[in-house]
Amino acid sequence: MHITELIKQGKFVITCEIDSPKGVNHEDFLDKVDMVKESVDAVCVGDNLRAVMRCAPLAMCHLLQERAVEPVMQMNTRDRNRLAIQSDLLAAATLGVENIVVTTGYDVSLGDHREAVSVNDLDTAAIIRAAREMNEGRDLAGHTLEGASNFCIGVLTSLAPKSEPAGMERLEREVAEGALFIITQPVYQPDVLEKFMESASRLKLPVIVGHAMLKSASMASFLNSNVPDIHVPDGIIRQMEGHTREDLIKVSQQITIEFIKKVKPMCQGVHLIPMGWERYVSNIIEAL
């Protein structure tokens, strides 16, 4: 079911991001899916996530559909030109994968193929336009397609203070091109989301707030220093210090639970990134 459909039904939508395998063995991916599928509304698969080459998300989304799990496929601007983007979108539509989230993707310098060329033939707004055109039976060049797609298009946005002014402008363009829902980058401060919700209220789009589980204090500090759009407040980092591994798992879950509880009244859903801790997702959802 389309993400927007779920939101229309009044559901607080929970999506969960699971990394696509780096390799051809997908058992691990499916094991993780089994851990979360009873607790979440959809599973989201990244597109060469964090600029690390991985299996194309379409294959994983197809496997998800076979298991009756609603897929959400990410598509970045970095790795394909407009021919590849459109053909992949048609492939997704053919296999019935309809929830698409458009993103720019991390810089190649952060990933595992640092010499790769960044394509950026189309920007996010243009990809959204391409998908919307396909829903109307056309491609970007205006050619008529054999049949029309039925995409539900979302966009991934940052709401960190640094990129906010430009971000809001970009978001407006993306919405104008046909984005139907927003997923945010991981957020840890409810008040940051609150501010964003105020400024984004004129867009009248459902917002699903992103939240990556923190696995250790050092990992949180690493996010702060190395990922420009994410900020974990010091208070949370301190909360995670000085615990044993076992206790850290509990503390981390508690941080996530508290965050979601606080933001639940403000937004329409949460996009949970378990960072390999898929087995704790059901605990978290139950505790909400």
């Binding site: 952060l110 595992d112 696995k215 050092s218 990992m219 690493f222 996010l223 990922v227 044993t244 591994r245």
Partner: protein, 664 residues
């Protein structure tokens, strides 16, 4: 882990020299910065040098830092050492310690990214140095033994809270201990939570395990280690386990005699070590046990225990009391770093310990035992049903009167504890060891706060703690002005035994067992002959045993301690086999196990030695634990062949046991 006197070490593992320089700059000369350039060297040094903190930077090739970080985190030796991953000059991605993927899976304690300006070495910049110093300092502080700091700091009045471990795995008593520890950890008024070891000789959940859990709650535990139930190997093994899990505070006790509550009957009393020997073991472990295995010397990593012992000044007789102080002298010599008193309410007695320490030139911090005493417990203690705990008739009457109040004497009880706190602090104790059945945390905090409030008026309360034992002996003369003690020693009037037996034994001893005596010189070759004869040896051993059974009720330990205990056998006549002085359980001179029936052998030994003016020997003579290799062998032959513990004193050279083939 090094002791505080040594220079503390910080290990920096990075292929960039700059990081080590930065660390040295940040930490100054009181720290030694050890460098390692690659994974293998880093791992080896982390395992062998026991750094206080490990700083991990960029290593070639990419991915090595993450690998090493994981191995350090998972390794048994290194997993509790704070691990900091530091990125310097983050503009250059290829020189970063971790990739994005690795960073998101990081399990280090801390990640720091230090960015410099173009072309400037980081070690010249103040900001990154300060940040690194702060971060490393934070971890060093977390590793401090806060109980030890509090005990040793003269400006801190240390508080420990005693918890009594109960029988069972899932009982309310255990639930309450953990709840209490959690509250104590949160409120930060208590420096350590101590847990008793099979209290009263009854089976109970392991203090070691509870203390390991308490440590995780964020407060220092104090493990009671009683020698009643564990032999020396078990002690060592438990201590290794505690050291590995970061539990460092130990209170070494003889332990009450086993109760009858054991599984299918009374348990076997072990008492393989006494508290003096236990302290020696810990001292050795702290220096790093050194031994030989298959012709190779092995040195174990030093542990970081902070070990203390107990003393009971609440003894009635001179002989009983002096035994306590002689043994305390040995405990301090063996390495006791703090002392906790037994339970009592006579302030002059509390004061006596401080006076004894001062007059004997010892400067060991002492914690005063403060037990919140309700009538029921008082009655039990008054009847001597809790070994060593002294509640006099007068005190019991006072409590009896107090309980007629509306609150059943609760307020008076808490106030008494608070006043004890104030007086202990005023007199110069290093802290208070507070206990009480079912004592709620809130009450404990009330006692501490009230005690602090009354602190300045401590002298006023001394008369309220005038609870002498009936014709009880004090080491010092009373100071009538303060109600405490003067510096002048009291005369020791206790009647010594008739010197007959000891004198005879001494004479026999000096003839037969004194290496300088002519008789010794004749007996030694004879002993060698018997020792080497397969026919003579069993007969001799049998006859010796027979004779010594008649004279001393000998138990054939083969490592004779008659010379150490005034010619009394501690194996047959002391239920706790104490070779270094009395335990704390005696009552009016009687043995804890046989009250009103048998005198404590150390009371008898004192009286015997006093007859010859040699009672001081008790405090000077460090006796090692019985060597069980000698069990059921002839102690005389062992003596002449230099195989028993006396060889170290007499200087008799060891000759191996022929039938054993080799010298073990």
């Amino acid at each position: 882990m090094p002791t505080s006197s040594e220079v503390e070490k910080i290990l920096v593992v990075s292929s960039q020299n700059e990081l080590a320089e930065l660390a040295q700059q940040a930490m100054g000369t009181s720290f030694e910065v050890i460098r390692a350039q690659d994974q293998q060297e880093g791992l080896e040094k982390a395992r062998k040098e026991f750094p206080e903190v490990i700083i991990l930077g960029h290593l070639e090739p990419q991915g090595t830092t993450f690998n090493l970080h994981r191995r350090l985190r998972e390794g048994w030796i290194t997993r509790n050492i704070p691990l900091l991953v530091v990125d310097i000059d983050t503009a250059d991605r290829s020189r970063r310690a971790l990739t994005m993927e690795e960073g998101l899976q990081m399990e280090a304690d801390q990640y720091i990214s230090l960015v410099g300006e173009d072309g400037q070495a980081l070690s010249r910049l103040a900001e990154p140095i300060i940040r690194l110093r702060e971060r490393v300092g934070k971890h060093l502080k977390e590793r401090l033994n806060t109980f030890k700091e509090a005990v040793l700091d003269p400006d801190i009045f240390c508080v420990t809270w005693e918890q009594v471990a109960g029988r069972g795995a899932f009982e309310m008593q255990q639930e309450e201990i953990i709840e209490n520890a959690m509250k104590a950890a949160r409120r930060k008024k208590v420096h350590a939570v101590s847990v008793t070891d099979n209290p009263g000789g009854n089976p109970a959940i392991s203090t070691e395990m509870l203390c390991t859990e308490i440590k995780k709650l964020g407060i220092e535990p104090l493990v009671h280690l009683a020698f009643r139930d564990k032999n020396r190997n078990e002690c060592e093994s438990l201590l290794f386990g505690l050291a590995a899990l970061g539990v460092r505070n130990i209170l070494m006790l003889t332990g009450d005699y086993p109760s009858r509550a054991g599984f299918k009957g009374q348990p076997k009393p072990v008492f393989d070590l006494d508290s003096v020997q236990g302290l020696q073991l810990v001292d050795l472990m702290n220096r790093g046990i050194d031994y030989e295995m298959a012709g190779r010397r092995v040195t174990l990593a030093p542990t970081d225990f902070f070990a203390g012992a107990c003393i009971s000044p609440f003894k009635q007789h001179e002989s009983e009391l002096l035994g306590q102080y002689y043994k305390l002298r040995k405990k301090i010599e063996a390495g006791a770093q703090f002392i906790i008193t037994q339970l009592g309410y006579d302030m002059r007695k509390f004061h006596e310990i401080l006076m004894w320490l001062k007059s004997s030139g010892n400067n060991v911090p002492v914690l005063a035992n403060i037990y919140v005493l309700p009538y029921g417990a008082g009655k039990v203690m008054n009847a001597n049903q809790i070994p060593g705990a002294v509640v006099t008739d007068k005190l019991l009457q006072d409590i009896d009167a107090e309980r007629k109040a509306e609150d059943k004497g609760r307020e008076a009880r808490y106030l008494r504890a608070a006043k004890m706190y104030a007086v202990a602090k005023g007199m110069g104790f290093a802290g208070a060891h507070i206990g009480g059945h079912g004592l709620a945390y809130e009450t404990l905090e009330y006692i501490i706060e009230k005690g602090e409030e009354l602190d300045a008026r401590w002298r006023e309360f001394i008369p309220e703690f005038d609870y002498p034992q009936k014709s009880g002996f004090y080491l010092f003369k009373k100071d009538e002005k303060t109600g405490l003690n003067t510096r002048e020693e009291a005369s020791r009037q206790e009647k010594p035994s008739r010197p007959g037996i000891v004198l005879l034994s001494r004479i026999a001893h000096s003839l037969i067992f004194e290496p300088k005596s002519p008789l010794f010189k004749c007996l030694k070759p004879m002993a060698r002959l018997i020792d080497r004869s397969p026919r003579l040896k069993p007969a001799f051993t049998y006859l010796e045993h027979l004779g010594k059974v008649i004279l001393f009720n000998c138990m054939n330990c083969g490592d004779c301690a008659l010379f150490d205990v005034g010619y009394l056998c501690p194996v047959s006549q002391c239920p706790k086999n104490q070779r270094n002085g009395p335990c704390g359980g005696s009552y009016n001179g009687w043995c804890e196990v046989y009250p009103n029936e048998r005198l404590c052998i150390w009371v008898k030994a004192y009286r015997r030695l006093k007859a010859m003016g040699k009672e001081e020997e008790i405090g000077g003579n460090m006796v090692p634990p019985c060597n069980w290799e000698l069990w059921e062998t002839s102690s005389w032959l062992n003596f002449y062949m230099g195989r028993d513990h006396l060889a170290a004193k007499t200087g008799i050279a060891r000759e191996s046991c022929p039938e054993k083939g080799q010298d073990k």
